[in-house]
Subunit: 313 residues, 3 copies
């Protein structure tokens, strides 16, 4: 066991051993999710607050269920109905939540660094549920969990991340996780969205999608944010789909055992053809299931849990 942290703020500062501890603990919690009674009492009497300043129903529900299955009390706090609208600062909001004896505050925020800021000003534990274009650690951990489960290992695998890398916290957290665990990461997408500077993080950068996917063990597709499309960055959804979408034709030129991932929600026919999303190479729904296990593991470890052995004790 190697977990001694009070917060889960990013992947960048974690060691490979710490990441592996989360994954191993998540394996134990995935088994809990398959029991008739999907609950353990690990966080009984603890208070977990979902502080979602940037809305995200999926991630919020995943954390909420993770906390409920650990028997915690959970409070959802969203920006819309809150004092933040009355001009209160994030710090004041968070310290007020902490004053309610909150043990763990899960924060999603548009500003990169917001979780680190809270970790400095609070006594409660903080989990980053996505901060700006910076990091989204539990997404990367669930992706790594899924890869390890499908391939038996992560070290030595070729993982291609495809899409809007520049603005993606999912990409950043994935790159940290995968390189720390010894995978070879390729980034691909429109050149405006995949700057060469990412090579400094140890990745290969290419703008040729065929080259990016031909020998990949894993293809991880990022969501195109077309509801808030960056118009100057790429011309149209249709063009993106034709240049970078995973189509049947493109899939023929990949390894037969390639695994297709996507953090969801998917845009069918844009990042991925509908049939492929539902096909046997896709693990998109398994990622959702694994996300719950990874979030239970994160809450459990942050709360002082002692690794996978304790889950089943």
């Amino acid at each position: 066991m190697s977990w001694n942290r009070k917060h889960l703020l990013d992947i960048e500062s974690l060691s490979a051993e710490e990441i592996t501890t989360v994954l191993d603990t998540a394996t134990a919690f995935k088994a809990v999710g398959q029991r008739a009674i999907k609950k353990v009492p690990a966080l009984r009497g603890k208070t977990v607050v979902n502080l979602f300043i940037e809305p995200s129903t999926r991630t919020r529900i995943s954390f909420e269920l993770a906390a409920l299955r650990l028997t915690a009390d959970v409070i959802n706090f969203t920006a819309e109905a809150s004092s933040l609208k009355k001009g209160e600062t994030l710090k004041d909001t968070a310290r007020n939540l902490e004053a309610l004896n909150a043990d763990i505050i899960i924060i999603r925020h548009r500003a990169a660094g917001a979780p680190h800021f809270l970790a400095r000003v609070l006594n409660a534990s903080v989990i980053n549920a996505g901060d700006g274009a910076h990091e989204h650690p539990t997404q990367a951990l669930l992706d790594a969990f899924t890869i390890r489960e499908k391939k038996g290992r992560i070290a030595g695998l070729k993982v291609t991340i495809l899409g809007d890398i520049l603005y993606s916290r999912v990409a950043r957290s994935n790159i940290w996780t995968l390189t720390k665990l010894g995978a070879k990461v390729t980034l691909c997408g429109p050149s405006t969205l995949v700057p060469k500077v990412f090579e400094r993080m140890g990745c290969r950068v290419t703008y040729n999608v065929e080259e990016a996917i031909v020998d990949a063990d894993i293809i991880n597709l990022l969501r195109i944010q077309h509801e808030r499309q960056r118009q100057t960055m790429f011309p149209s959804i249709g063009e993106y789909a034709s240049l970078f979408g995973v189509t049947k034709d493109r899939l023929k030129r990949t390894r037969p055992d390639v695994v297709i991932m996507h953090p969801g929600p998917i845009n069918r026919g844009v990042e991925i053809d509908s049939d492929i999303a539902d096909g046997d190479r896709s693990v998109i729904l398994e990622q959702v299931t694994n996300g719950l296990a990874v979030r239970m593991a994160s809450l459990f470890l942050i709360n002082g849990g002692q690794g996978p052995a304790e889950v089943n004790s």
Copy 2:
């Protein structure tokens, strides 16, 4: 005991014996609601999702409390704050919820057939909480429960349903339930909203309200949706009230033991005079209480519960 179903999608496909099993089980759960500790552990460790694509605070709360009193973990998912706004399909939303190990998904949706569609594409159990103008099975079951409780039986009773039958899922589910259990159903309302075709379901259709109510054992009033009034269908709220509203004068020409029902929320002075709604013939609030018992019974049976005997074991 005769319940062997994974879903509760409609009344049309249920047998009289199955309906009776729900009512008998609900009787046991109504007693639970009167205890000092209103909880049983039947669904401990199970996850119930309220997927309300069409909003309904009352019905959602009734299902939420029913699940909490069965000790389930409950997640509320409404359309407003969700990925559905980002263009995700209902199927993807539901499969993502199922991937969180959801055991039962309760869906309300504007489209008739949405619950049946989910039942085909999911492994989780599905409960229909109202789909378009199609069915609202738990409403009809709670209405039948209330009638049976008040009158001791349903077979042979004369039940009049008054209002906008054409667009009402409550009416359809009630007609199925009552005719299967042997009641004689009369439909009445504006002729544009009560087409003769309902006679094929075994009902009497009349446009004469006095004739409809004179010998009724039960009068079940449907809510006029005046916030989204079908303007071409009837001229005005005032005219509806004067033609079809249950007034003191009209009540004089009914049986002295008539029972007045309404699924709520009521429009005082439209479907029903305010005094009558609060009077001793009205069972409107008892319907609410019974709704909770019926929903506990539905969740319990769907989850594999073995009928009323097991509730108290």
Copy 3:
């Protein structure tokens, strides 16, 4: 022990002994909040409804957590998504909630007297979480709890309430609580907002802020509602800050052991300088913590709990 009430509607009708019982019981619950497992089973199987017709995330969350830590089932019902929008009356909404076997209904409403009205028409217990400009009893109780904790007593203390007294339910409930418990209350603020008529409640009224604070043991600042500023009442936020804000200069002319309170959320630089809000005379965050204990005590006593001794039994 001296608590025999079914509702908590206001402070005006409580005796000093009853107020003290709440504070003593809250002391026991504050200790619960510092345990590893912050829960007691006192309200297991009870249903608590947060009926917040006027939105307030903080107060709602405080009551929600209080109920969860007493192991109650909690339902949140807000006006936005409800039948109230469809023209349903408050009475009908509340009676429908009660029909779901709700044991305690916590109501916040813009209209003074709404909680008293509900207490008359319901069988359930009612807690007032703020009604118009009338009362906010749990806020006053948590303020009194904080004062007693800091000063060891309330009788004989000099308490100054500063701000918009006229429209403040917090001020009214504080005045009742403090005068019943024997404190000397001074009111200060813009003359348009602090009418002389408050002297009839046993308070001193002054428009000279220096005079109001010079010998105060406690200064309780009210929030300026600048998002819905009463424009005819005072000229500007800046002028308010300069005339009545607690600045470093003003603080120098107070007792060295003065305690600064504020019900939150604070407007930094308006009612209070930012450094003072975070300084060692401020107990603003302790008030939040104490609010939870006072609300647990209120729910517990309303539910028939027998005072502090029982909390720890």
